[in-house]
Symmetry: C2
Amino acid sequence: MISVDFSKAVRRIDDFAAPLIQAHRWLQEATGRGNDFVGWVNLPRDYDKEEYARIKAAAKKIQSDSRALVVIGIGGSYLGARGAIDFLCSPNYNLKKKDTPNIYFAGNGLSGDYLQEIVDLVGDDDFSVNVISKSGTTTEPAVAFRFFRELLEKRYGRDGAAKRIYATTDKARGALKSLADAEGYETFVVPDDVGGRYSVLTAVGLLPIAVAGVDLDALMGGAAKMMDACRRGNLDENPAWQYAAVRNALYQKGKKIEILAAYEPAFRFMAEWWKQLYGESEGKESKGLFPASVEFTADLHSMGQYIQQGERHLFETVVRFGPSKSRLKVPRDESDGDGLNFLAGRDMDYIAAQAMDGTLLAHVEGGVPNLVIQAGEKNAETLGELIYFFEYACGLSGYVLNVNPFDQPGVEAYKKNMFALLGKPGYEELGKELREKLGR
Amino acid sequence: MISVDFSKAVRRIDDFAAPLIQAHRWLQEATGRGNDFVGWVNLPRDYDKEEYARIKAAAKKIQSDSRALVVIGIGGSYLGARGAIDFLCSPNYNLKKKDTPNIYFAGNGLSGDYLQEIVDLVGDDDFSVNVISKSGTTTEPAVAFRFFRELLEKRYGRDGAAKRIYATTDKARGALKSLADAEGYETFVVPDDVGGRYSVLTAVGLLPIAVAGVDLDALMGGAAKMMDACRRGNLDENPAWQYAAVRNALYQKGKKIEILAAYEPAFRFMAEWWKQLYGESEGKESKGLFPASVEFTADLHSMGQYIQQGERHLFETVVRFGPSKSRLKVPRDESDGDGLNFLAGRDMDYIAAQAMDGTLLAHVEGGVPNLVIQAGEKNAETLGELIYFFEYACGLSGYVLNVNPFDQPGVEAYKKNMFALLGKPGYEELGKELREKLGR
């Protein structure tokens, strides 16, 4: 079970007990700001069991009839699944020999070269598409879906394509839901009360994760365990309370940047998921810790210098995992030219553990508070725990910061401008105004 | 040729002319702080032509006798090559059908599972190793090299292995140089006067980049062109002066974070390279902009909220590229359920360009100064330009900030602690002290 060690971060956090009691109640009773979007709180037990079985069945079907799955989505409809698959199956998942399909993520940007490359990588392989969009009209995924739908229909005919398209969308309304019903795509639900960045344990994340061969029961089981732990209404027993308290304490002390660090390259995209979760939940009203991430020890030889001696406006949150699967031992070298024979016979985990402790002390000495989140072995259950832990702590933390942790009003600004410049009907006035600002 | 548009970032930068004249002289005449490490300034023309030819020949040999190359290095001996190969050949390079070997990066961390995975991915393929380390004793690469050297010697015998190991190291001294001479490895030089983060255009970066099939002449040609542009001693004509001035101006105004943004997923690891370059050069003496990076438009649905409405302590530097290779056009859809037919027939570049402009105006409106670096098409020449541009601007910027842009004293702290905790001979006292701090 996840534990939080904040002994090297702040002296005490009991000042936060009162606001946390309040925040906790808002989450548990759905009575705080943004309370239409706290469906994720009880999700690990209260999910739709019928849909869950359909997700597993769809994953099996895709595994049986496809050598590639193209997952189309952006933001919360992208980062959770990508992070989980990278972490549990490897960032090299597609490169590995395996029985499950390759998984490509599309519709999360506007690069033509990137899109073309996915088309090329799919090549002649039999493939399916999981298009994930609440509305069906978000530009990036909608554009990508036009390409891949056309490709599928050319290859398999309209009926054949319909059997290879899985739409994760609104349960009743919207462009994608209408199309899916008209064409007969199998559909899964983006729940009304779960925002994108909290949606990885809904069909949004679960279908692609299942296609990669991950044990969904273990993932959900881990989340459910953490959900129980997060129900405890006190600072001593609830790791999410502790994390939420520490980061608010450090923010109040003037720290402006939180760096999430892990010593596993496979965690890189879970850190990206974490950035969306916290950045989007708290970055508003001119407030919020800026979320950044590093991959150690690689980045000790990159960002390490800044962390050790740069501006003192940051703190670190380090996620540590239990033992590796592989227990590689350093070979002995008789000549010992590199002077590393004192490590011969030691396994990598042992060396990494000393690097973690050494780095912790070095950074603390350099004025960087360090917070350690100790997780279990790198497996689906641990990831389920971590996901729920971060989500629950984020809800709490946003409430303690006195913002609505469940809206994202700032995301509309670029979209509106983009529509106006693209000449979308209805945006003519704004378009004129913007072109003037651009001097064209 | 690269140009910098700072009209949406700061009003004027001419206050920086005087310190830039000074900084420029320090770089050109090698008379400033850290002047033992400005060998990169004239490198694009003054490189060792004989070694350059050997690099190309070695790359050809590796291409002919290996299906995989394991590149062992950390920090500057990792990020440059990784960034360049990702950008020029794709982050999916290893997955693509091609005539050149797969390239795996190892020795840049301490994860046993990661190391084991590289071993598994290489599998039975014929492979070579490029081990990159000035001293040969840096823990991460040295440990990884022990594994892969053992693997090579088991498979090909000691002599056979020696023909597959390429050591990029000190020209005369150190553990790796001694071993290479004793075993007969081909060696390339990490120049004495070029620090790791400025070394991508030396053998450090060039050998792996060449193995991936990149046109080195184009890369070096681009860098040489930019070198000429960066020699111009005035603000109007020198884009590196402009960039260095703008970031210092914004830092003086209280901005603490610089976010490097690009709209190409393939640029992700060049941004990591940039983070090392700037973070390690300026993050010292409790100073320096914190370097962060985002991938747009994906991260407009993640960090976008924070950028638009969070703490106003940041600015953005956006790298834009010329036309894509693929000119995919959005398909028309008769039903137009997603309402995107107003984009039908438009190519992705057009849509992306409007997103870029729309985002620029939205973020500026939100109080985030925006700086645009306009680069050419995504090719080796453009990358050469960008690399030199960022390097030169970094040297200038560090001098204007009044730090030594060429040292990294803070990187030693974690290493010392790690050695002490690992029980390295000579670190006994520190080890005792640290264990006490850790309460064990």
